[in-house]
C-alpha cells in the first residue's frame, strides 16, 4: 500500500486547548509510528482524554496542528467520520456499543452493508460478524454469536467486540480509552490479548490506562501527561516497570502537595 511510506502515522504539533479558564493541554507534541503501541499515562484530569478527542475530531484544539500519515489535517473540517475514513478508530469503554442491540448491528452501525434504498443485507452482516468474532478477536466463548445482545457479554468481551470492529474496518490506529477499568483480572487478560493481536497484525494502538503493569505488558513507548503537559517519554527498553511506576507516584505526590492535600 502506498501509505506505508509515511514517517509518522499520527503527529500532533504544539496542541493547546482550554475550557474556559481551565487549561487542558499546553503545547503538546505527540507522535505515533506505524505498528507501535503507545501507553498514554496520567492522573485524572491530566488531559489524556482531551488529547484523544482532538485526534478523533470530537472538538478542535485552540492552537496546533495535526498530521495523519504526514498529511496536514484541516481541523476546521475535521470530524469523527473523517477520522474513521482515515482509518483511526477509538474505543470508549461505555460508549462503544449499544447494549440492547445484537452484535452484528453493533459491528456495522454507521457502515451498514445496504442496497441503494438503505435496506441492510442482514445475512451478510451476520456472517461477517461471525467471521470477525472467530478470526479477528478469537472469540471462543460458548453461547455467544452474532445475534447475542451486548448486555449478555462480559466487560472484556465487549472490549473485544469493539476492537474486532476497529480491526475489521482496517484501522491503522486503534485508540483504547481505559479499556481495562472495572474488569476482573481474567477479563483484563482477554483485553491484553486483544491489544497484542493489534500489534501482531501490524497496526498501531494508543492505550490510555491508570494501570502501569497492564500498560507495561503491551506498550512499546510510554508518554506521561501531567496537568496538560508531557512530563516524560520513555521507550520500553529504557525503563523498568518499577521506575515508571515510581515516576508516576512522584508526580502524583507532588501534585497532591501543590494543592495542599
Amino acid at each position: 500500500m502506498e501509505d506505508s511510506k509515511y514517517i509518522n502515522l499520527v503527529e500532533m504539533r504544539n496542541i493547546s486547548k482550554s475550557f474556559g479558564k481551565v487549561i487542558a493541554l499546553k503545547n503538546i507534541n505527540f507522535k505515533v509510528s506505524s505498528n507501535e503501541v503507545v501507553g498514554l499515562i496520567g492522573d485524572n484530569g491530566a488531559g489524556k482524554s482531551t488529547l484523544i478527542k482532538i485526534l478523533m475530531g470530537v472538538y478542535p484544539p485552540d492552537a496546533g496542528e495535526v498530521f495523519i500519515r504526514d498529511m496536514k489535517i484541516q481541523l476546521s473540517h475535521y470530524s469523527a467520520k473523517i477520522a474513521h475514513n482515515l482509518r483511526i478508530e477509538a474505543v470508549y469503554q461505555e460508549k462503544a456499543l449499544g447494549e440492547k442491540q445484537p452484535l452484528w448491528r453493533n459491528i456495522f452501525l454507521g457502515r451498514q452493508i445496504t442496497n441503494k434504498l438503505g435496506f441492510i443485507d442482514v445475512k451478510k452482516e451476520r456472517e461477517e460478524t461471525e467471521r470477525i468474532m472467530k478470526n479477528l478477536i478469537g472469540f471462543r466463548s460458548k453461547g455467544i454469536n452474532s445475534e447475542s445482545r451486548v448486555r449478555e457479554l462480559s466487560g472484556g468481551e465487549r472490549q473485544g467486540v469493539a476492537i474486532g470492529r476497529a480491526m475489521y474496518f482496517d484501522a491503522d490506529l486503534i485508540i483504547l480509552d481505559e479499556p481495562t477499568t472495572a474488569l476482573s483480572v481474567k477479563e483484563v487478560g482477554k483485553v491484553i490479548n486483544f491489544i497484542k493481536q493489534i500489534k501482531d497484525v501490524g497496526k498501531s494502538c494508543i492505550m490510555i490506562s491508570h494501570n502501569m503493569s497492564e500498560e507495561y505488558s503491551v506498550a512499546d513507548r510510554f508518554v506521561i501527561l501531567d496537568r496538560g503537559e508531557i512530563v516524560g517519554e520513555y521507550k520500553k527498553e529504557d525503563v523498568t516497570l518499577s521506575e515508571l511506576t515510581s515516576k508516576l507516584i512522584t508526580i502524583a505526590t507532588e501534585n497532591a502537595e501543590k494543592v495542599g492535600v
Partner: protein, 323 residues
C-alpha cells in the same frame, strides 16, 4: 440452524408471542362474556374500521419512543391538519390537493417539534406538551370552534380508496394501516434509518461516535410522526365525513397505551411494530368488548389500565433477566 434457535428463544421474541397470546385470551374472554357479539364477524369488521386511526399514529409514535423521546402533540396535529384537509377540500374542491396540504401541515409540525428537541435540546415531553397546546389552540381559532361536515365526499373515488368498504365488507383504512405497519416494520428492522432509530434510543453517544447523524434522525422521526398523524386525520375525517375541533385529544392516551402494551420501552432502544399493532388492537377491542359484555362503559378504562400494567410489568421482568 443454531442461529435460528437462539432467535427463537430470545426475550424480544417471547414478548411478541406473549402479547399475541394476551389478545387471543382477551378475545376468548369476550366470546364467553358476550357470545352474541364476539362469535359473529361484524364486530371484527367494526374493529377494522375504528382501530386504524390510532394504529397509524401508534406506528409513528413507536419510532419516536424507540429513540427515547416522546411526542404528546400528535392528537392536536391530527386536529389541526384535519381542519386543513376539510378547509382545502371544501374550498378548492380537490381531494388530492387537500390531502397533500394536510400532510404538509403534519410535516411542518413534526419539523418544528424535531428542531426544538434535537437542536435546542428541550426535553421532548415538555416541548411537545407545549406545542400540543399551540396546535390544538390554533385548530379551535382557525375553525371558530365549529365542526365541519363533508357528506358530499361519500361515494367518491377518493373516499372509497381511503375509507371505502372493500367487497362491501373490509374497511379500506385497515389496509392502509396494515400497509404502513409492514413498511414501518421493514424500516425499523431492516433499514439503515431504522437501525439508527434503535441505536439513538439505546446509546446516543455510541451513535454519535460511529457517525450516526443523531439530530437529523431525531427530526426525521418527529416529521414521520407528524405526517402519519395528519394522514390519520384524513381517514378519520372521511370515515365520519365530519371534523370537529376536539377530534384529536381522545386519541392521546389510547395511542400511547397501544405502544407500551406492544412492548416498546420508554427507555428507548427497543420496540416492535408487530407489538404496536397488537397493542392497538387490544386497546381498541376492550371498549367494544366491555360494552358488548353488558358492563357499564366506564369499566373500559379500568380494564385497559390492568392490561397495560400487566404488559409493562411482564416486559420489565423479561428485560431485567440478563441471559
Amino acid at each position: 440452524m443454531s442461529l435460528k434457535k437462539s432467535t427463537f428463544f430470545n426475550a424480544r421474541v417471547y414478548k411478541t408471542y406473549a402479547i399475541i397470546l394476551v389478545y387471543v385470551l382477551l378475545m376468548g374472554i369476550f366470546m364467553i362474556t358476550a357470545p352474541k357479539a364476539f362469535t359473529g364477524y361484524q364486530i371484527y369488521l367494526a374493529f377494522l374500521s375504528t382501530i386504524p386511526f390510532s394504529l397509524i399514529m401508534a406506528l409513528g409514535l413507536t419510532f419516536v419512543i424507540v429513540t427515547g423521546e416522546i411526542d404528546l402533540s400528535f392528537p392536536s396535529t391530527m386536529a389541526l391538519s384535519g381542519f386543513v384537509f376539510m378547509y382545502t377540500y371544501i374550498h378548492l374542491k380537490n381531494s388530492i390537493v387537500a390531502l397533500l396540504a394536510c400532510i404538509v401541515v403534519g410535516i411542518i409540525i413534526g419539523l418544528i417539534n424535531g428542531l426544538i428537541v434535537a437542536k435546542i435540546k428541550v426535553p421532548s415531553i415538555v416541548a411537545t406538551l407545549a406545542t400540543s397546546f399551540i396546535w390544538a389552540g390554533l385548530a379551535v381559532i382557525v375553525s371558530g370552534g365549529i365542526q365541519i361536515a363533508i357528506p358530499e365526499s361519500r361515494g367518491s373515488l377518493f373516499y372509497n380508496v381511503l375509507v371505502g368498504r372493500i367487497a362491501g365488507l373490509i374497511p379500506a383504512q385497515s389496509l392502509w394501516a396494515f400497509g404502513f405497519a409492514i413498511i414501518m416494520a421493514f424500516i425499523l428492522n431492516r433499514n439503515r434509518f431504522g437501525e439508527h432509530v434503535m441505536f439513538i434510543g439505546d446509546n446516543r453517544e455510541t451513535s454519535k461516535m460511529l457517525g450516526v447523524n443523531v439530530d437529523r434522525t431525531l427530526i426525521s422521526v418527529f416529521i414521520l410522526n407528524g405526517a402519519l398523524a395528519s394522514f390519520s386525520s384524513v381517514l378519520l375525517g372521511l370515515e365520519y365525513v365530519t371534523w370537529w375541533p376536539t377530534q384529536g385529544p381522545g386519541f392521546l392516551l389510547i395511542t400511547i397505551a397501544a405502544v407500551f402494551i406492544g412492548g416498546t420501552s420508554i427507555a428507548g432502544g427497543e420496540g416492535t411494530i408487530l407489538g404496536t399493532v397488537i397493542g392497538a388492537f387490544i386497546v381498541g377491542s376492550i371498549t367494544a368488548g366491555v360494552v358488548a359484555s353488558g358492563a357499564e362503559g366506564f369499566w373500559t378504562q379500568l380494564i385497559v389500565g390492568v392490561v397495560m400494567l400487566l404488559a409493562v410489568v411482564f416486559n420489565t421482568l423479561l428485560r431485567d433477566r440478563k441471559s
